[in-house]
């Protein structure tokens, strides 16, 4: 052969390869390539996204080209029929279906139920679950999947998908920085996307992307095998069951209790998911978890979750869903321990069927334009646990019947939950009105239990997210004080104690005057006529100072013409109840209203306290639901409303 000819061929081949590489780098056509697929044409589409590490036996494997993954689904090949109500189901491995055949997954069982909407359309669900726990991974998939025109989205979540520091840990997220960055920008997400590396020039070449190209090709090559066998996972007869005997470790994600903060979890990503869904309804599901009865199950629910962290998460998720009027199903304890397989979130087919029944009910209701929740139970007053008080019947009477004079008790515990209104209080009120106080405003003064969004905020949110039940008479007062319930008080925040309210260093410099205390600042700005004052829990480290500080707060409040309403606290962290004793003593001494909240929750399980013996147990403000009223927060809100109502009505009388 002619050497010169051979040389020219080699040179031309090299030049062509170089040009091809440059063109590939410039176009970077991986997403476009992903759209080229033999699924749904030469081979049938998959029931769930490709995932796995054993392609020789399962005909599937983990790749990171999301476009190619979606193209391989049966969903992609189906034009949406007019009579189909299309449901996309997002979530982690429990939705994807680890150890479950496609028909055994939540999606498989929902479809087997042959659900229909009220207008006769067939409800058809599609599995977009993908193993690895990250809300960011979920919304990345959701954003692409919106092109399939869903009529409803089911989003199954668990706490492990929420921590901010694991959002980018999923390999699918790590390998799709070009999808995550726009999400961060568009929805202003708190994600450290700068830690994700974009491919450089060399990594974008044909050579640099040879793995991605090979993955795309392998996905196509496995299509006939999947199509012929329907196998996409191994189902071993034996597997290591989820851990039941747990380590005596109370940390979660290296965090210790007693509470999680909103800032530790990616609620912003959760909200972004709802924004991406837009007009399409979303059913948020807190998925079932294994609740162990083994060793150290008093500390942890399971391998993943210490009790304090999970309880805190559930409370936050429920409240966030409520405040945003999201459709929400909390199925955390739906499935018994025996129905979990190799992880605290992986269910047996029987476990999935329990979940499918609950989700199917919600799906039926939502597809007919109703609420995801079943109708409120009929009030059954005899089944409702009444909190222990000296006079429980009078305290919880639906009819406001303030007692005209305050009885004197020898023990602070005997004081009723709800206050009476004295002539002294009426005189303070009238003087305050003359000073320009707003009769339709009250202020919250206290620590985290008072500054929390869980305290009264719901009663200013539209549409209403509470049910008053037999306490409907409170609605008039709720409307009257409109705006004060959701107001973020300058003097009720996390970490505050009585001394904090009196220390200018804690005043918000944006709105408070130089040298002004948080208390004075709140009163100057909001001009309330009533102040709900609830300190004590954060004062237990120095109870000796508490009385003096609370006296100052009371005197400043009275001086401003504002009626102070003192509240006792739920806990006894100081050990001798001396703080509650002081609170009641000062209420009597100054002849001002007392809200004995402590007495309201003594008959609740664990006296309404969580494991830390400090924070309150939480549930929605459904005052007609006996189960909800087993928790302390609804009682805190109900008795606060009753207190406000009694004080408001009592102050209208002439001194």
């Amino acid at each position: 052969m002619d050497v010169r000819f051979l040389r020219n061929v080699l040179i031309k081949a090299a030049v062509l390869f170089l040009l091809l590489n440059i063109a590939f780098t410039a176009c970077y056509p991986l997403d476009g390539l992903g759209r080229v697929s033999i699924y749904n044409s030469l081979a049938r589409g998959r029931e769930r996204l490709p995932f796995g590490e054993n392609p020789q036996e399962t005909y599937t494997f983990s790749l990171y080209n999301l476009e190619a993954m979606l193209q391989s689904l049966a969903l992609d090949g189906l034009p949406k029929p007019a009579n189909e109500f299309r449901v996309l189901v997002l979530g982690d491995s429990s939705i994807w279906g680890t150890l479950l055949q496609p028909v055994e997954t939540l999606v498989g069982q929902l479809n087997a139920a042959n659900l229909t909407t009220c207008d006769g359309r067939a409800i058809r669900a599609y599995n977009l679950g993908y193993p690895t726990l990250s809300l960011t991974k979920d919304i990345m998939i959701l954003e692409e999947a919106m092109r399939y025109q869903p009529d409803l989205i089911i989003w199954s979540v668990t706490l492990q998908a929420f921590p901010k520091d694991i959002q980018l840990a999923s390999p699918l997220v790590q390998n799709n920085p070009h999808r995550v960055r726009p999400l961060k920008e568009q929805y202003d997400l708190d994600l450290p996307v700068e830690t994700l590396s974009e491919p450089n020039f060399w990594q974008r070449t044909l050579i640099g992307q040879r793995r991605s190209l090979a993955d795309w090709l392998r996905l196509q090559l496995y299509a006939p095998m999947w199509s012929a066998t329907g196998i996409d996972q191994l189902y071993p007869a034996d597997y290591e069951p989820a851990q039941r005997d747990l380590d005596p470790d109370e940390t979660f994600n290296n965090w210790s209790g007693p509470d999680l903060g909103f800032e530790q979890l990616s609620f912003d990503v959760l909200s972004a998911g709802f924004e991406i869904a837009g007009e399409t309804p979303v059913l948020l599901v807190n998925e079932p978890i294994l609740i162990s009865a083994g060793q150290n199950s008093d500390l942890r629910y399971n391998f993943y979750y210490p009790r304090w962290a999970y309880d805190s998460y559930r409370a936050m998720l429920g409240e966030t869903a409520g405040l945003n009027a999201w459709s929400y199903l909390d199925l955390w304890n739906l499935v018994p321990e025996s129905q979990f397989t190799n992880s605290a979130i992986h269910l047996t087919p029987q476990g999935v069927s329990m979940m499918a029944e609950a989700v199917g009910d919600a799906l039926n209701r939502m597809s007919c334009g109703q609420s995801a929740q079943p109708p409120a139970p009929t009030p059954t007053p005899t089944a409702t646990p009444l909190p222990a008080t000296a006079t429980p019947v009078a305290v919880l009477s639906p009819t406001p019947t303030p007692t005209p004079t305050r009885p004197v008790y020898t023990d602070w515990r005997d004081y009723p939950v709800l206050p009476t209104v004295s002539d002294t209080a009426r005189e303070i009120y009238q003087r305050g009105l003359a000073l320009g106080n707003n009769p339709a405003a009250f202020s919250k003064v206290g620590d985290c239990e008072t500054g929390s969004d869980w305290f009264l905020r719901t009663f200013d949110v539209q549409p209403p997210l509470y049910r008053l039940g037999e306490y409907e008479y409170l609605q008039e007062m709720i409307l009257y004080f409109d705006g004060s319930f959701a107001r973020r008080s300058i003097v009720a925040k996390n970490g505050f104690n009585a001394a904090t309210a009196l220390s200018p260093i804690w005043a918000d410099p944006e709105v408070c005057l130089s040298g002004e205390t948080p208390l004075a600042c709140e009163y100057r700005i909001h001009k309330p006529s009533i102040a709900l004052i609830a300190f004590g829990t954060n004062d237990t480290k120095n109870p000796a100072r508490f009385e003096g500080d609370l006296r100052k707060i009371i005197e400043i409040t009275i001086e401003a013409g504002i009626v102070p309403v003192l509240s006792t606290k739920a806990d006894n962290l100081e050990g001798d109840n001396s703080i509650n004793e002081t609170i009641v003593k000062l209420a009597v001494e100054y002849d001002i209203p007392l809200w004995n909240f402590w007495a309201a929750i003594q008959d609740l399980p664990d006296a309404g306290l969580r494991a830390d013996k400090m924070h309150l147990t939480w549930a929605q403000n459904y005052f007609d639901d006996p189960e909800t009223m087993e928790k302390a927060w609804p009682w805190r809100n109900l008795t606060a409303l009753q207190t406000l109502d009694i004080v408001w009505r009592g102050l209208q009388e002439t001194p």
């Binding site: 965090w255 007693p258 509470d259 800032e263 530790q264 104690n497 001394a499 410099p509 120095n542 500080d549």
Partner: protein, 127 residues
């Protein structure tokens, strides 16, 4: 040569000492006050403040009772005088932690009032 190096090191150490010791005593008093405040050292705090302001200072310290405070990048300097008062401003923050939740109090929001009594610089309040 060895002697020259030793001489140079001596001169440099003098320069360094001179540079680090030029903070005013009023600014130093405020820094000590802040350190005692976040350290919740009531006995020390009482020696660093005016008698008239002591109860308020102790209440301020007690206001950190439920949180874990620490000073971050705190540095103070004199910013002027007003009669007997020396005014001191600071930079940095008091970082407080409550249930793993951190928040910051910016020291630059305040001007501290310092007075010299019997040769001792005492913090008498802030605005």
């Amino acid at each position: 040569m060895k002697t020259k190096i030793l001489y140079l090191a001596f001169v440099l150490s003098l320069v360094l000492v001179a540079c680090t010791s030029n903070a005013s005593p009023a600014a130093t008093a405020v820094e000590q006050y802040l350190t005692a405040l976040v350290g919740k050292q009531s006995d020390t705090l009482s020696t660093l403040v005016c008698a008239d302001w002591e109860s308020q200072a102790l209440m301020e310290m007690d206001s950190f009772g439920a949180v874990a405070p620490e000073l971050k990048d705190a540095a103070c300097q004199e910013s002027g005088t007003e009669g007997d008062l020396t005014l001191v401003t600071c930079t940095g923050q008091i970082v407080t932690t409550y249930n793993d939740e951190k928040s910051e109090l910016d020291l630059s929001d305040w001007t501290y009032e310092v007075i010299q009594q019997n040769g001792v610089w005492l913090v008498c309040g802030y605005r």
